[in-house]
């Protein structure tokens, strides 16, 4: 019976170990020091593309896996049984914490929501990746995956069937730190620059004799609906890694920071909408968005990032 036979998957992991540079750490010459840029975040400057020095290689691991397993399951099995030195971020394991965004077959997505059956490709159907880590521009979408559980190839001697190969690399657009770990601080810096917090009267409630002296700000359900979806962003960086402008290294504050700005612009409780729109009406702000809409495809929270960007661009122009 097909169910009884074991299946495997091969993970082809782009690994990187930084060179220990103890004496240089404090100096500006360190590959880890962020460079100042006229556009703010390092992600928008040449340093994002600057490769830290160290050892790079591609390593293949073959592990037992069921088609319905997540890629994270496979990596954890590798840590437990083959190689405890393989480094990647992970935490909640079910798509809420946002820590495990990587490039899967060239497409940014979360390890814990990527299923083996959706991404494993039988050898021969892999896009070619050259020595510098560039892939050809063909589609990296999951539907292009040639392999499924049914047409998996037999591996002759063991009797185990291979579901195919999955290629993993750190999230594009951000400097690699070790193996699949990328430095996403540039994204968080850009989010922080746009005052990502509610700005209202700032009064807080206190309790006296069991009663509070101030109540919640009122907000009707239809007012909530204007920004609720945007507030679900988990800042994983998938949209940023997908954006050819951002990941390409051009000066762009990035889709995540704009989604966060839009979240507050559309919140009826916030009193700084005009100032917020001024802050993103810049060359590296909304003007840098090319409406490619690659940012929408893999958002793990289902936000149509491209459409939201379009909306905020229109709103900024109309003000």
């Amino acid at each position: 019976m097909a169910e009884a036979s074991k299946t495997t998957v091969t993970l082809k992991v782009h690994r990187f170990t930084p060179r220990a540079e103890k004496t240089e750490r404090a100096r500006a010459g360190s590959p880890f020091a962020r460079k100042s840029s006229p556009f703010g975040g390092a992600g928008s400057s040449a340093s994002a593309r600057r490769r830290p020095r160290g050892k790079q290689w591609v390593q293949e691991y073959t592990v037992s896996a069921r088609p319905e397993d997540s890629v994270l399951d496979c990596l954890l099995a590798i840590k437990r049984t083959i190689d405890p030195t393989l480094a990647f971020r992970y935490s909640c394991g079910h798509g809420m914490c946002g820590s495990d965004a990587v490039s899967v077959n060239g497409t940014p997505t979360l390890l814990c929501t990527a299923r083996v059956s959706d991404w494993a490709k039988l050898p021969g159907s892999m896009p070619h990746i050259d020595d510098d880590g560039f892939r050809s521009t063909e589609s990296g979408e999951p539907e292009a995956a040639a392999a499924s559980a049914n047409d998996a190839a037999d591996t002759s001697d063991t009797g185990e069937r291979s579901l195919g190969v999955i290629e993993l690399a750190p999230l594009p657009g951000f400097p690699a730190q070790r193996d699949l770990i990328a430095d996403i601080d540039p994204m968080l810096d850009q989010i922080k620059k746009l005052k990502p917090y509610l700005q209202a009267d700032g009064v807080l409630a206190t309790t006296k004799e069991g009663n509070i002296d101030v109540f919640e700000y009122l907000q009707r359900p239809e007012q909530l609906a204007k920004y609720e979806m945007l507030s679900n962003c988990i800042a994983c960086g998938v949209c940023e890694g997908s954006c050819p402008v951002f990941a390409g290294g051009d000066a762009f504050i990035g889709p995540a920071a704009l989604i966060w700005a839009s979240r507050f612009i559309n919140d009826s409780r916030d009193g700084k909408a005009m100032e917020r729109m001024d802050a993103i009406d810049t060359a590296d702000g909304v003007a840098a968005c090319q409406s490619v809409r690659a940012c929408s495809r893999q958002c793990p929270r289902g936000i149509d990032v491209g459409e939201e960007m379009w909306q905020i661009v229109a709103k900024v122009r109309e003000r």
């Binding site: 190689d83 005052k195 917090y197 509610l198 700032g202």
Partner: protein
């Protein structure tokens, strides 16, 4: 994000950046004491040290709600909330703390809303509230709508709003730093905090951090068990640090198992699945809950349902996880086929998505395997209602000067022997804020900026850091019995694997303590820890010598922390000869108020003493729903 350079002395260091840690930072910075200090031109020196980037904290996974008697949907009264909390805790809650929890809950929720949380709303714009198990009106009457919610993502909303406010306040973070030591000086009668030692996982450097106040907010310890709803990072670090520093844990034997974890993944399926008509069935297809809880059936209290499931499994009526058909028959079925498919999509979207994504099953036609999953540690680091950590000597509490704790890692004892849904986020935010204010009071009286460098503890922190550095070097040197090979790419041989050992520890603890236990199961686990796990944990070495982002080093320390904690939890369970709340002793099936209406206090040596429960308003009664 890491600080460019460390201060010689911090006013406060907060360890952990979930709801409790961030609430403490805000409580501190928004306090009048700090306001005054700032007005005088003194900036308080505060650092939040966290193992994860703050937005990755496990607070973000909380789904259901945060309880407060706002009365936005129907009349409610904080006294009712107070009573429900005590009853839910099987009368092991300290009533002074539970009273504060209920009385200040409305303030806490309103201030979260005013900090930006996108709560769901009533038609007229107020924060919407829903029913939650155990929350009633008029002291145990009809269910009441008390849990404020934000769709099924209230934890995410709260975590993000708190982080956003910390950004507004300019809080400094040391992210992805793993704390390895809590450093105290003094003796049993007069202890005080000196600081912490932490590993900057980015550079691989060990740092000595001197502080006049330290707050631990490191979350729970679900990873003690194989099947848990907790993230991979909930390894009980703060609790283990406290034990290692010579202090105690309170009520460590009380661990809540949520009845419906998705089989072996442990991922939570919300209680709403049963509220909407889902039914639990055993291997024979019998809807067994009616037999255990007549009248309540599948909607009985969490601990009751979990115990019933385990009883069915123990009686040989369990089923195997279909993903592991040859594995143990340790699950039962959740049958959701009776729910109208359209309604299921509408009201249980997260449940349906989780089942499809992680079990590859369709709940409208398939039975779903479920298993109780380790969910919440009621016990933890003993604290006063102002978050001060203390030591219990059998008669009195002695506060450790400058040491605080808040959130799931702490035990102010509002949850007693069993936590009510909606009370965990409330505990973390409310008592986190209080602890922050208590630290602010101390800082206002004695700011570090105004101090001469006369801190005697300096040498203690530096010594601890030096020791840790030496240990790190030893770990990185690898297994010295084998020839060094920097280019080795295969790591199957040689020394043990911390990830494997963590899994093994989880199996041992699950067999011993999950849902039910007895003297024999506890003894077996203690022996396994002593003879197998502890020696293996101490022999662990890293398989790569590069210190930067060396996750294996952190994992080695995590498994050592878990081992330390597991022993304490087993000893505490062993000494409680009764069944209460989440603790089910098969050999002591009844509650025993005469001997055990008391908190267990266990230390690293396994010595257990008991501290009486604070009872003010509600004398113990039989707990029935």
């Amino acid at each position: 994000m890491s600080p460019k350079r460390l201060e010689d002395m911090y006013d406060a260091v907060i360890v952990g950046a979930g709801a409790a840690g961030l609430s403490a930072a805000l409580g501190l910075l928004r306090s009048p004491d700090i306001g005054q200090l700032k007005a005088q031109g003194d900036e308080p020196r505060i650092l939040v040290v966290s193992k994860l980037q703050p937005l990755r904290s496990h607070t973000g996974s909380a789904e259901g709600g945060i309880a407060a008697s706002l009365g936005n949907m129907e009349p409610d009264d904080w006294h009712w909330h107070y009573y429900d909390t005590v009853k839910g805790g099987d009368w092991l809650s300290d009533q002074d703390a539970a009273k504060l929890l209920a009385e200040y809950a409305p303030e806490t929720v309103v201030n979260l809303e005013r900090s930006g949380v996108a709560f769901s709303r009533t038609e007229d714009g107020h924060v919407a509230q829903r029913r939650f198990g155990g929350h009633t009106r008029e002291f145990g009457g009809e269910p009441v709508k008390r849990a404020a919610y934000a769709a099924d993502r209230v934890g995410h909303q709260i975590l993000h709003a708190l982080w956003q406010q910390c950004v507004a306040e300019g809080v400094q973070f040391a992210e992805e730093w793993y704390v390895t030591d809590l450093v105290l000086d003094g003796d049993d009668t007069n202890r005080r905090v000196c600081g912490i030692v932490a590993l900057d996982t980015h550079s691989g450097e060990v740092k000595a951090i001197h502080a006049r106040n330290v707050l631990l907010a490191t979350g729970g310890a679900g990873r003690l068990f194989h099947t848990t709803s907790n993230s991979w990072d909930l390894t009980g670090d703060g609790m283990a640090l406290t034990l290692a520093a010579g202090l105690q844990l309170e009520d460590g034997e009380f661990v809540q198992f949520h009845p419906t974890g998705l089989a072996h993944t442990g991922i939570l399926l919300s209680e709403a699945a049963r509220a909407e008509g889902g039914v639990l069935r055993n291997a024979n297809g019998e809807a067994f809950m009616e037999r255990y809880a007549p009248g309540h059936a599948d909607l009985a209290a969490r601990d009751v349902v979990s115990r019933s499931i385990m009883a069915e499994v123990d009686a040989g009526r369990g089923v195997a996880d279909p993903k592991d058909p040859q594995g143990p028959k340790d699950c039962v079925w959740l049958d959701m086929r009776g729910i109208d498919p359209q309604r299921m999509e509408q009201v249980l979207p997260q449940v349906v998505e989780t089942i499809r994504m992680y079990a590859n099953l369709d709940p409208t036609v398939d039975l779903v395997p479920i298993k109780p999953t380790a969910h919440y540690t009621m016990g933890g680091i003993p604290v006063t209602t102002d978050g001060e950590v203390y030591r219990w000597d059998g008669k009195t509490r002695t506060v450790v000067e400058g040491l605080f704790a808040a959130g799931e890692c702490s035990c102010v004892s509002v949850h007693g022997a069993n936590r009510l849904g909606g009370n965990s986020l409330l505990d973390a935010c409310l008592f986190g804020t209080r602890a922050g204010r208590a630290m602010a009071l101390r800082i206002g009286q004695n700011p570090a900026a105004a101090l001469e460098d006369d801190h005697e503890g300096d040498t203690a922190v530096d010594q601890a850091a030096a020791d840790r550095k030496a240990e790190m070097a030893e770990l990185l040197a690898g297994d010295t019995a084998q020839p060094e090979d920097a280019d080795a790419t295969e790591h199957s041989g040689g020394t043990g694997n911390p990830y494997q050992l963590m899994a093994r520890l989880g199996e041992v603890m699950e067999r011993a303590l999950a849902v039910r236990c007895d003297a024999e199961s506890i003894g077996t686990a203690l022996a396994a820890l002593r003879d197998e796990i502890r020696p293996a944990a101490e022999a662990l070495r890293a398989h790569d010598s590069n210190a930067a982002f060396n996750q294996e080093v952190t994992a080695i320390w995590e498994v050592q922390h878990l081992t330390e904690l597991a022993e304490a939890v087993l000893h505490a369970s062993d000494d409680r000869h009764e069944s209460r709340g989440s603790l089910r002793r098969l050999d002591f099936p009844e509650r025993d108020d005469e001997h055990f209406l008391a908190h267990s206090m266990v230390d690293a040596q396994g010595t257990v003493s008991f501290q009486p429960v604070v009872i003010i308003d509600y004398p113990p009664m039989k707990r029935e729903y």
